[in-house]
């Protein structure tokens, strides 16, 4: 399967938006994994990222603001043959959906969560987001944001996530490799994508991200298996680490909970009177 198999429509995001980098990386990851489009479900939240389903050819679910993760969890647990991605924004995943985010990390269902982080609310026209830096001036914080920004990957690690990565839309090749690894990881995987908003965030633009990211990978002798190293790298606020930041092999929720390998959603349903009668005897 080639890239055009996953390309449904040409996107109409703002020209220069970082999310084009994610779109390209996603298609490349699908090509490298050779997953048939009907085996992919992309669940999106509300925000500019939510248009992804209109451009990427796969099953798509564009639900409610902040709720992509529980929907994705329900889909994956119902059909374990599917590759399920929850694509979200910084407002969607880290603000309104933060409760689900933390619990998805600790639940460790075999889904991939991609958070497109542009440090601003784009679709609603430029309000401050939970990842906007302190002092950030916007229509919703005209005197500068008074709150500390939230670090998704850091929160994910301490919440029990087993695969935590951060990529940059300006390096789609690197991002493709992270997404590919995230999809093949057994358990919950988070890939945060730093993605400049050309329309609303004039501070954290492509140039700014390029100057501030630092690659954490084999070339820097970074060990993603070491939790302490990962936490230290993320807590050092002088730079923004990108790469596969933390990985841990452990059984997923699916491994521990699903009664069999047969996808629940594809079962023929019948009324097994004999088995049900046996259960009913408990009440006699």
């Amino acid at each position: 399967m080639k890239e055009d198999k996953y390309h449904l429509n040409d996107p109409t995001w703002c020209r220069g938006c970082g999310i084009y980098g994610l779109f390209a990386a996603l298609k490349q990851a699908a090509v490298s994994l050779q997953i048939p489009p009907e085996q992919v479900v992309i669940v999106t939240g509300i925000g500019c990222h939510g248009r992804l389903n209109n451009y990427f050819n796969s099953y798509g679910f564009h639900g409610l603001h902040g709720r992509a993760l529980p929907v994705a969890t329900g889909i994956r647990l119902s059909n374990s043959s599917l590759t399920v991605l929850a694509v979200s924004g910084d407002g969607d995943a880290y603000s309104i959906g933060i409760g689900h985010f933390i619990h998805a990390c600790r639940r460790n269902v075999n889904i991939t969560c991609i958070v497109v982080n542009n440090r601003v609310y784009g679709l609603t026209q430029g309000q401050t987001s939970p990842t906007s830096q302190k002092g950030y001036v916007s229509v919703s914080s005209p005197f500068g944001s008074k709150e500390m920004p939230l670090d998704g990957p850091l929160l994910a690690i301490i919440s029990g996530a087993t695969f935590v990565a951060r990529g940059f839309s300006g390096d789609p090749k690197h991002l493709t490799s992270l997404i590919t690894k995230g999809i093949t990881h057994n358990g919950f995987s988070l890939i945060e994508v730093l993605s400049p908003c050309v329309t609303h965030n004039k501070i954290n633009n492509t140039k700014w991200f390029k100057e501030n990211v630092v690659y954490m990978d084999d070339s820097t002798h970074y060990r993603a298996e070491d939790r302490t190293t990962a936490l230290e790298a993320l807590m050092d606020k002088s730079k923004i680490p990108i790469g596969l930041l933390y990985r841990k092999e452990q059984p997923s929720f699916d491994d521990l909970s699903l009664p069999s390998d047969r996808p629940i959603g594809l079962l023929e349903l019948d009324v097994d009177a004999k088995k049900l009668k046996a259960l009913m005897e408990d009440f006699e």
């Binding site: 048939p36 489009p37 009907e38 085996q39 479900v41 669940v43 248009r51 389903n53 209109n54 050819n57 796969s58 099953y59 798509g60 679910f61 564009h62 639900g63 409610l64 709720r67 993760l69 529980p70 929907v71 994705a72 969890t73 329900g74 889909i75 647990l77 119902s78 059909n79 043959s81 599917l82 409760g99 689900h100 933390i102 619990h103 909970s257 699903l258 009664p259 069999s260 047969r262 996808p263 629940i264 959603g265 594809l266 079962l267 349903l269 019948d270 009324v271 097994d272 009177a273 088995k275 049900l276 009668k277 259960l279 009913m280 009440f283 006699e284």
Partner: protein
């Protein structure tokens, strides 16, 4: 001969009242009686006053009765709290001595005895823990319970969890309690119950019936957050669903629960969630999404007292409006209201079938007094459970289709449904307004056609939902309308009214939405007087009837919102009083 009896066990939370009541209920069921339990519990673990009423009858019953015939009390306060309800020939056994105010009440023909269960347990069996089985022993004497049955039930309760020794010790306590009661209770004070065969019957709570019903109906995914009084549904299911290759997930909140259940339903599983009022409020946004995206989702809602946290462990019928009118936007929904425990079971198959046939959310609206209380019912007949998956496509069907459209415009508004992983079925599920393939579309014409498509599904559903039931004599001029569990106190009140020369008829609504307007209109037109009886403040069913444009000038409301169900006599008296005016 006694054909109907009500026993109350009263004390404080932590006294073991619930345990004793459940065991007694099961014993009476095995002795061949129809049993209904009624738990009156505060929302805490220890300390506050609680009581448990067990009504047993030789005929079918579904609600607590009016008077208490036997009261077993762990303290004098418990007697004083219920003294007005004690029958004139009632008997009371109490842990403590008889106080002055109780002595005064005794004059009415009631008898009171000191029965120091705690003290006897400590002194004669070595631990206070046996106070509850000593209490059972007391009842064994008063009611002439079969010791063999008590032995059998206690063995079932204790053997696997606590072992043979505990079983024997408890049976010893029962015999001890029985002997002690014989010393103090006179023969003429006894309330001897006959013994009948117990064949093909269950002793089951409404939540358990819903759980078993959902499993029989093919529910294979369940996501929920703990809440009184709905949690028992999935606590039962979680023990068994894996043997049907299904899964229950406890979520972080109700928002996650409904969204997860929606994801599962979209992926092709018969999926549900369960909750009560506060959880339902959190679910409203996703409820609207289920309507928009045409996802077959089932929600079991066990009503408790609102608003806000209200009275979490007590019954009310005040969430009708929440599901009939709740959530933003116009979208189709179906709301079912079972009136018996049997219907809690059988309606689950209807709920799933309707959800899949009409591709919309379906709510099974029950009540705390059904959910958490036990009832004797006939064993369920699984041959009555039929699974109809509506327009769900198979892979073979789908491969034959050209240019598949998930939201295809059809005559009745229902479109064939593909699920993820199916070839040739790729589509989009959108919370935004969308075109026939599911992709976002803000075109005016598409918007109108899509709204019409979704809403017209209910036009065919109205002939397919569960019709109301008529009770009583056609020629009666006084009509009663109600829904849910009020059916039983209403029917008992009808007997009382008949005795007083006021024959009534009654229409029990079983589908609250789409509303059975033509049946209700016809019924109301045949009455001179109509009473809408419901367990809420504002008369939500009354409002629903009014909203249908049905002539309501001869209609009066009888409501109760005290945190308790109606006693039959309350309905009888309200109607008699109203008719006088």
């Amino acid at each position: 001969m006694i054909d109907d009896i009500q026993i109350m066990i009263a004390g404080h939370a932590g006294d073991g009242v619930l345990f004793t009541g459940n065991v007694l209920g099961k014993i009476l069921k095995r002795q061949g009686w129809e049993v209904v339990t009624y738990r009156d519990f505060p929302s805490n673990i220890r300390g506050e006053a609680t009581n448990y009423t067990i009504r047993a009858s030789l005929s079918k019953i579904y609600n607590r009765g009016d008077a208490i015939d036997v009261l077993m009390a762990f303290d004098c306060d418990s007697i004083l709290r219920h003294i007005s309800a004690i029958a004139e020939d009632g008997i009371v056994l109490c842990e403590g001595g008889v106080t002055e105010s109780i002595r005064l009440s005794q004059k009415k023909g009631r008898t009171f005895h000191k029965f120091p269960m705690r003290e006897m347990a400590k002194k004669n069996l070595g631990s206070e823990i046996f106070k509850n089985t000593i209490l059972l022993g007391g009842l064994c004497y008063i009611l002439d319970l079969d010791l063999k049955i008590i032995d059998e039930v206690l063995t079932e309760v204790f053997l696997s969890k606590k072992g043979e020794e505990v079983v024997q010790k408890n049976i010893q306590a029962v015999i001890f309690g029985c002997d002690e009661a014989e010393k103090i209770v006179k023969k003429e004070e006894k309330h001897t119950l006959v013994k009948r065969p117990d064949i093909d019957r269950l002793f089951i709570a409404g939540d358990e019936a819903v759980a078993l019903g959902s499993l029989a109906a093919g529910c294979r995914f369940f996501a929920a957050y703990p809440i009184c009084p709905a949690t028992e549904i999935w606590q039962w299911l979680i023990k068994h669903i894996h043997t049907f290759n299904g899964l229950v997930v406890q979520t972080e909140d109700e928002i996650a629960a409904i969204n997860m259940a929606l994801g599962a339903a979209y992926a092709g599983v018969r999926s549900m969630t369960a909750t009560s009022g506060p959880g339902a409020s959190l679910m409203m946004e996703a409820f609207s999404l289920a309507g928009m995206a045409e996802i077959p989702l089932v929600i079991a809602h066990v009503q408790r007292v609102g608003p806000s946290t209200g009275l979490p462990t007590r019954p009310e019928q005040s969430d009708l409006n929440q599901w009939v009118f709740g959530a933003h936007g116009d979208f189709p929904r179906i709301v079912l209201s079972p009136g018996t425990i049997e219907e809690c079971f059988y309606f689950m198959a209807d709920a799933f079938n309707l959800a899949e046939k009409y591709q919309c959310p379906v709510i099974l609206l029950t009540e705390q007094n059904y959910g958490q209380n036990f009832y004797t019912v006939e064993t369920f007949d699984f041959s009555h459970v039929v699974i109809d998956r509506g327009m769900l496509l198979s892979q073979a069907d789908l491969l034959k289709m050209e240019d598949y459209k998930r939201y295809k415009f059809t005559e009745n508004g229902i479109s064939p449904r593909a699920v993820p992983s199916m070839k040739n079925g790729i589509h989009m599920v959108e919370g935004n307004e969308h075109d026939q393939k599911g992709y976002r579309d803000e075109d005016e014409e598409t918007r109108i056609k899509m709204m019409d498509k979704r809403m017209k599904k209910l036009k065919s559903a109205i002939n397919d939902v569960i019709p109301p039931v008529f009770w009583g004599k056609k020629e009666a001029c006084v009509g009663i309308i109600g829904f849910g569990s009020t059916v039983w106190p209403i029917r008992e009140a009808m007997d009382q009214l008949e005795d007083k020369g006021v024959p009534c008829k009654y229409l029990q609504i079983r589908t609250l939405w789409p509303f059975s307007a033509s049946e209700v209109k016809e019924f109301m037109e045949s009455c001179d007087e109509v009473f809408v009886v419901e367990n809420n403040y504002s008369g939500q069913l009354h409002g629903l009837i009014q909203g249908q444009g049905i002539e309501c000038s001869h209609v009066r409301k009888i409501t109760k919102y005290s945190g308790h169900t109606f006693r039959p006599i309350e309905i009888t008296e309200s109607i008699l009083e109203a008719l006088k005016q």
